[in-house]
């Protein structure tokens, strides 16, 4: 019996079983209708036993009633669930292949201020880790550089591509700033512990950061200047074309950072991390700041903290009206990004509303990234970027994917790992 089940899974994912890498799906040339599925739209609505049609990469039908038009392929999904493709924010997927192998690491450049750095050109569309994302429903990612105080700009990619150019949904949509740390946390441990103090350099570091932004502001309002790559690369922050991502956990960082950037006239500010965001709700609301909250699979910040602290953050933010998405940064972040649906599930297990959790994986990030016209929800006219799961995609037991599509292209769901699985299942079945 179990063997048969394996075969069924295999059957769904069988295309090109032995190729070295996944081959990107071909453009949609047949119209497809999926019916009898539970459709979770990503904008807070659920269509039970719905009809879901798409052609030329766009959704052209979504309702509880059968379309009049006849589709080339009409598939009965019998109670399976359809979700918009989940979006991973603040990800370094494709920038590092194996953390411990330095040669495969391209996530950070040296130096403190690197606004001119662009993550997209280093993005490896063929990363084996990226391949594994889609099997859990993670189909889009914001590829983000790390390091320094200004890390550089991120771009949005979809996870089924030949190369970075082909992968890109949106270039250089955001600039990433790591606000200086108000605490001094020595990197050396002495007999299993260390002492943390208020940083003596905090103000200096903040002033240095402010300095480069002030310079960039004046540079970009002067038209007779000599080209300065760094300052030039910051211009879209001031004209609203680029979002400023403020990486900040501590409440002081958030308040100091948001206040400063607002004072420069930068309006699109999103906080990444925000471990203490729940302590400054009013401030965030007044400044209309969204939070990409640290994911819940982290330890409480202090030994005195609520043991469930990390799990409760999302609920507190959402119930206070803060726009929530989920940060995938953390331990083993690239391989673990496929657990993004379960980060959301863990939040739900600790009080977050299910719809809000889905939004945090779909429409909210799409809006932050400025790709919500096409992505982030299932609505007629939008891109057919979605997946079909056996059941609830936020729960491990039922997050079992049968199909996934990006822009109407059916994705190969096999990957390096499923190939190894199949190879060695064969060995087991031969009893040797």
């Amino acid at each position: 019996m179990r063997k048969i089940k394996y075969l069924i899974i295999c059957f769904f994912i069988f295309a090109n079983c032995w190729s070295q890498k996944q081959i990107p799906g071909d453009d949609q040339n047949k119209t497809i209708l999926l019916y009898n599925a539970k459709i979770i739209t990503g904008v807070g609505t659920v269509v039970e036993d719905g009809f879901f049609g798409f052609s030329n990469g766009k959704i052209d039908h979504l309702s509880i009633s059968k379309p009049e038009k006849k589709y080339d392929l009409e598939i009965d999904l019998k109670g399976q669930h359809i979700y918009p493709g989940f979006i991973a924010l603040n990800s370094t997927l494709g920038l590092v292949e194996i953390s411990a192998v330095r040669a495969s690491d391209d996530q950070r450049e040296i130096g403190t201020f690197n606004p001119n750095i662009r993550s997209i050109i280093a993005y490896n569309a063929e990363s084996r880790i990226v391949e594994t994302m889609r099997l859990n429903g993670v189909l889009i990612g914001q590829i983000t550089p790390r390091g320094g105080v200004i890390s550089g700009s991120s771009s949005v990619v979809q996870f089924d591509a030949w190369n970075w150019e082909d992968a890109t949904i949106k270039y250089d949509e955001g600039m990433h700033v790591n606000w200086p740390n108000p605490y001094n946390r020595p990197s050396r441990w002495s007999s299993g512990s260390r002492t943390v103090t208020s940083s003596k350099n905090y103000l200096d570091e903040v002033n240095n950061l402010k300095n480069i932004f002030n310079k960039a502001l004046s540079y970009n309002s002067d038209f007779s200047k000599k080209l300065d790559l760094k300052l030039e690369s910051m211009k879209n922050l001031f004209n609203g074309l680029q979002t400023l991502y403020l990486h900040a956990k501590d409440q002081r960082q958030i308040i100091d950072g948001v206040s400063f950037f607002k004072s420069l006239g930068i309006d699109k500010i999103v906080v990444i991390g925000g471990d203490e965001a729940h302590q400054i709700i009013e401030f965030l609301k007044n400044n209309n700041v969204s939070v990409i909250a640290s994911h819940p699979h982290r330890l409480p910040s202090r030994e005195d903290s609520d043991v469930k602290e990390a799990f409760k953050l999302a609920k507190t933010l959402v119930s206070n009206g803060i726009n929530l998405s989920i940060d995938v940064r953390g331990g083993m972040e690239r391989p673990n990004t496929r657990n993004l649906p379960f980060f959301a599930g863990s939040f739900v297990g600790n009080g977050l509303d299910y719809d809000a959790a889905i939004k945090a994986l779909t429409i909210n990030p799409a809006k932050i990234l400025g790709i919500d016209k096409d992505y982030g929800s299932l609505e007629v006219g939008k891109s057919a970027t979605f997946f079909v799961s056996k059941g609830d995609a936020l729960d491990m037991k039922t997050n079992i994917l049968y199909h996934a599509f990006i822009d109407g292209r059916e994705l190969e769901l096999s990957n390096h790992q499923t190939k190894l699985r199949d190879k060695f299942l064969e060995k087991v079945s031969r009893n040797n």
Binding site: K5, Y6, I9, E97, I98, S99, A100, V101, R128, I129, P182, Y183, R185, W189, S190, S191, G192, S193, R194, T195, V196, T197, S198, R252, H297, R298, L299, P300, R302, E303, D304, V307, K308, G331, M332, R334, P335, R338, N339, F342, G345, S346, V348, G349, N350, L394, D395, M396, K397, T398, I400, Q417, T418, L420, R421, F424, L425, K427, V428, N432
Partner: protein
């Protein structure tokens, strides 16, 4: 007056000591030997034993007579101490006075594995041949300071190395020389858990390594003594010579104190152990020992509370310690634990006595405080009756004070050491307080002297008009300068000091005419010395279990519990039972079934809830103070059981995820790691009580990148390739098997033959590895790629045993059938991969494929965070491997129990097994599930519903203590900048150093 200067003369003469048999060339040989008599004093012979109007007769630095009535030889110099108190000078047994701290050697880039000394023990951190006295340098500045603290004799040790060699007993007598003041050049031996700063040899790199090293050293000592060695080892020889000396252990934090006691006990030494100052937190553990603990009294200072961002992050433990530490001594005393007081890290004598007074205000008996400074330390180094006491035959070391020693107003005037007087405070010993009158030039002067033994306060009136006076006591005279503002005139008064007040005065009047006038005392001070108001004692916050966040106010008790109407995941052939009741009695699962009912049990309605066995984590690194001993490629001799940290907050966090039992594994820094500890997460219980009773013995092995040190600095430790890893195993097993044979052969000898034969060398490492060969210890081996997994199975088969568990086992699916054949289980991650080269082929289907091939599989954490949600990890076996929920659940309960060979006790819900149970609000495999209650052996150690109340009560306690700190600052107590303390989270790869 004449008499006084005569005495002065004699003292000077006496101080120029010289040894009888030394020639003299700068003067004629004059050896004037006189007796010294201290008379009319209140003599505190020892705590509680007081002689009023007592006298002490001293000769040659020793007390020859004591009492209130004895005849005095003619050649005696007498000191009248009327109204004064005489106490024995204090003794510190753990001093570093006059020792030379070695400087830190520059670290070479590559790690050193060999010792750098020849003719000594194989490990550089064993410095048993070192004698502190060889580098001793009498430090007059420091000795003056210590005498102000009241100390007369200190036992000194250089603080360097694991075995620190010998210390010396030194009297703080500035007025003689080393020939007299060194009372014993080799008085004690000392140990620590810290490496020597002088040497770079990598081993030991951890506390557990230091412990193992000490054990091995003393095994080697015995063997050497028996003639087992053919070579010379001067370190061992020194230790043999000094074997019977009292031992002192520099421990460190409070857990290390217990470790020091434990290992001393194992070595057969009743070591004096340097305490942490927080002994009250684990007093139950200490009660098992009757060693002397040398306790510091540098109590935490109140925090300055201005930096709100730091203040709000202070932990309950930090705050509580400020509140509770002053009660440490009284708690030790109440529990009959021997303790001595150490001046370590106390800034000055006023802080020292203040803190002793603080202890007394918390209930410590002042005689006990005195004992802790005198007879207890003296006894601990076998110097009872010689120091720390005023007794015939004892060294003449005593303090002369104005009153009872621990009273706030009391002044220590003199600290006599070896019969030599050392002035501590140069103020009149006799009270000259009083009102004096004299007349001059038709004016009447009224002189009022107050508080003459402390800070002298003098006021002077001329015909009832107050004059401006400055006063100072110098060379036994009270000198005053006077300003008569009205007449713009100056004058000077100088007065001698007699035993009962001021004598005659020299008065240089305002015209500059010198006169000698007799003073007349008109009366004692009308106003007594103002007593400084005793501070209200702060409310003492009770100790909790553990004494920090989430500590229980009182230890939770075993309960008889009936879970009603639960969905019960038995993990046995009964499968998952709906609407079932489970009875827990006396810590065991008593019965389960439908509609059970019992009296006298706590009934818990578990309707719509799921009851499972507690989760078992086969691979954890929480709850340990140390995880890797990477100083050698095999460290089988070290044991995690030595370094369990039963107060790690991650224990509580794990309970919140339904975990009840964990195996704390040694890290993966070397192919043969250390022995593991299997513990139950009994939050709040004593260290020893967490150890899983009757669990089999395990050891960690490791393969792959970590043991080859691929991802960190070292390039010179063997092995650097997987090929070498195999050879390390073969070599060790081969040697262990020969070792075992040799011992077995020896043990078979008759008693007579044994007497004629030298026993083989006892080697802890080989003992442990031989246990593996004898199937008394099981291997849990950290493993990645298939080649190495296969290799270890082959090595094991060659030596005739079975590997118990491959932990991590990322490529187990590739060799599942081989594993099945060998009989080894796999404890894997559900979906970790991609973090290093050797995990490229790790797949989330690994566990289920191994299961399919018939291998016993568990999922483990290796991670303090993930361990709290192993239920979710188990669910991934359903997602990736299509396993039934029942089977998936066994991945984190019954299967790890089987791997650890404790499945007869835990791992499933079966009558007779331990009541280690978790009540979940939903199907435990669901991402939405939360553990509501976690029980171990019938005790609820975690209840989700209590969290809010716990957090609230923690916050209230913190607020209370913070308000006390604000009060403390108002009272003018010293405050310090607060800092946050963070504890390191250990992983397999965490490499520590113990400097």
């Amino acid at each position: 007056m004449k008499k006084l200067s005569l005495i002065l003369f004699f003292t000077i003469q006496l101080s120029s000591f010289s040894q009888e048999y030394f020639p003299t060339n700068i003067d004629i040989k004059s050896e004037l030997k006189t007796y010294i008599l201290i008379e009319n004093a209140t003599v505190i012979v020892s705590p509680g034993e007081i002689i009023k109007d007592g006298s002490i007769l001293v000769k040659d630095g020793k007390i020859v007579e004591i009492g209130s009535d004895f005849s005095v030889p003619n050649n005696t110099v007498k000191y009248d101490m009327s109204g004064l108190y005489v106490y024995p000078s204090f003794v510190d047994v753990s001093s570093s006075f006059g020792t030379k701290n070695p400087s830190n050697t520059s670290r070479s880039r590559s790690t050193e594995y060999k010792s750098s000394r020849q003719g000594y023990y194989w490990n550089d951190h064993i410095l048993s041949d070192y004698n502190t006295i060889d580098d001793f340098n009498y430090d007059e500045k420091k000795s003056k300071e210590l005498r102000e603290f009241g100390f007369g004799v200190v036992n000194i040790h250089r603080k360097d190395g694991v075995h620190r060699g010998t210390g010396a007993l030194v009297a703080l007598d500035d007025k003689s020389n080393n020939s007299f003041r060194i009372l014993n050049p080799t008085s004690t031996e000392s140990f620590s858990f810290n490496r020597s700063l002088q040497f770079n040899q990598a081993y030991p790199s951890s506390i557990m390594g230091a412990m193992a090293l000490l054990r091995q050293f003393y095994h080697d000592l015995k063997w050497y003594e028996d003639g087992g060695s053919t070579s010379t080892d001067m370190a061992i020889e020194a230790a043999i010579k000094n074997y019977s000396l009292p031992k002192i252990f520099s421990a460190g934090d409070k857990l290390n104190v217990i470790r020091a006691l434990k290992i001393s006990d194992q070595l057969g030494f009743k070591s004096i152990v340097e305490g942490s100052g927080y002994e009250y937190e684990n007093i139950e553990d200490l009660k098992n020992y009757d060693n002397t603990i040398v306790v510091p009294i540098n109590y935490p200072k109140a925090f300055d509370l201005t930096d709100v961002h730091i203040v709000e992050k202070l932990t309950l433990q930090q705050l509580k310690r400020w509140n509770q530490a002053p009660s440490n001594l009284v708690q030790l005393s109440n529990n009959n634990i021997n303790f001595a007081i150490s001046p370590k890290n106390v800034k000055n004598s006023s802080e020292f006595f203040n803190n002793i007074r603080k202890s007394i205000s918390y209930g410590l008996d002042s005689d006990e405080a005195l004992a802790a400074l005198t007879i207890t330390p003296a006894k601990s180094i076998n110097m009872e009756g010689k120091i720390g006491v005023i007794k015939q035959g004892a060294y003449a070391n005593f303090l002369v004070t104005s009153g009872p020693i621990f009273e706030k107003e009391t002044i220590i005037f003199e600290n006599w050491v070896m019969g030599n007087k050392h002035t501590v405070k140069n103020v009149p010993k006799n009270s000259i307080d009083g009102d004096y009158v004299f007349s001059d030039n038709g004016s009447k002067y009224e002189l009022v002297v107050k508080n003459s033994q402390g800070k002298i306060n003098v006021s002077l009136k001329k015909d009832s008009i107050k004059l401006n006076v400055k006063s100072v006591v110098k060379n036994g005279w009270l000198n005053m300068s006077i300003v008569d503002k009205e007449n713009e005139l100056y004058g000077f008064i100088s007065s001698t000091i007699n035993t009962n007040g001021l004598g005659s005065i020299s008065f240089t009047d305002f015209e500059g005419i010198k006169k000698n006038i007799l003073l007349k005392k008109s009366g004692e001070n009308t106003e007594p010395v103002k007593k400084i108001k005793k501070h209200d004692q702060y409310e003492l916050i009770p100790v909790s279990y553990p004494n920090k966040a989430y500590g229980f106010k009182s230890k939770p008790k075993k309960q008889n519990v009936l879970f009603k109407n639960a969905t019960v995941w038995t993990g046995e052939s009964d499968g998952i039972l709906e609407n079932t009741d489970v009875l827990v009695s006396d810590g065991k699962i008593k019965s389960f079934g439908k509609n059970l009912s019992f009296s006298n049990v706590k009934v818990i309605d578990a309707t719509n809830k799921h009851l499972t066995a507690g989760i078992i984590d086969e691979h954890s690194h929480i709850a340990a103070s140390s995880i890797n001993e990477g100083g050698q490629n095999s460290s089988a001799e070290v044991s995690i059981e030595d370094v369990v940290d039963h107060e790690d907050i991650n224990i509580y966090r794990n309970l919140s995820g339904g975990v009840t039992t964990i195996q704390i594994l040694h890290g993966s820094a070397n192919p043969i790691g250390g022995q593991s500890a299997i513990i139950k997460l009994k939050w709040g219980e004593k260290n020893d009580e967490m150890i899983f009773k009757d669990a089999p013995k395990f050891i960690k092995f490791a393969l792959g990148e970590n043991v080859k040190q691929s991802n960190w600095g070292s390039y010179n430790r063997y092995p650097q390739s997987r090929m070498g890893v195999e050879q390390v195993f073969v070599d060790h097993f081969q040697r262990a098997s020969e070792y075992d044979k040799e011992w077995k052969k020896y043990n078979k000898l008759s008693k007579r033959e044994k007497n004629k034969t030298i026993a083989p060398r006892f080697d802890i490492e080989m003992e442990v590895i031989a246990e593996i060969l004898n199937k008394e210890r099981h291997i849990s081996c950290h493993s990645y790629v298939q080649s190495e997994i296969n290799m270890l199975m082959k090595v094991a088969e060659k030596f005739g045993f079975t590997v118990s568990t491959f932990t991590h086992i990322l490529e187990g699916y590739k060799v599942a059938s081989l594993m099945k054949r060998h009989g080894v289980g796999g404890a894997a991650f559900s979906d970790w991969w991609g973090y290093k080269f050797e995990v490229n082929d790790a797949i989330p289907y690994n566990g289920p494929i191994m299961t399919k091939a018939g291998v016993l599989v568990a999922y483990n954490s290796d991670d303090a965070e993930m361990s709290r949600r192993l239920n979710q990890e188990a669910a991934k076996a359903v997602k990736y491997g299509n396993l039934s929920e029942e089977e998936a659940w066994k991945y984190v309960t019954l299967n790890p129990a089987k791997l650890l060979k404790i499945d007869d006790k835990v791992g499933s819900i079966k009558v007779g097994k331990h009541a280690d149970l978790v009540l979940w609000d939903k199907n435990p495999l669901s991402v939405y599930a939360n553990a509501e209650k976690t029980m171990i052996e019938g005790v609820f150690y975690y209840e989700k519903d209590n969290i809010d109340a716990q957090l609230k009560s923690m916050q209230e306690e913190k607020n209370l203590i913070l308000s006390m700190m604000i009060e403390a600052k108002k009272r003018g107590e010293e405050t310090v900048e607060p800092v946050l303390e963070e504890k390191r989270i250990y992983e397999c790869e965490t490499v520590e150093t113990i400097l």
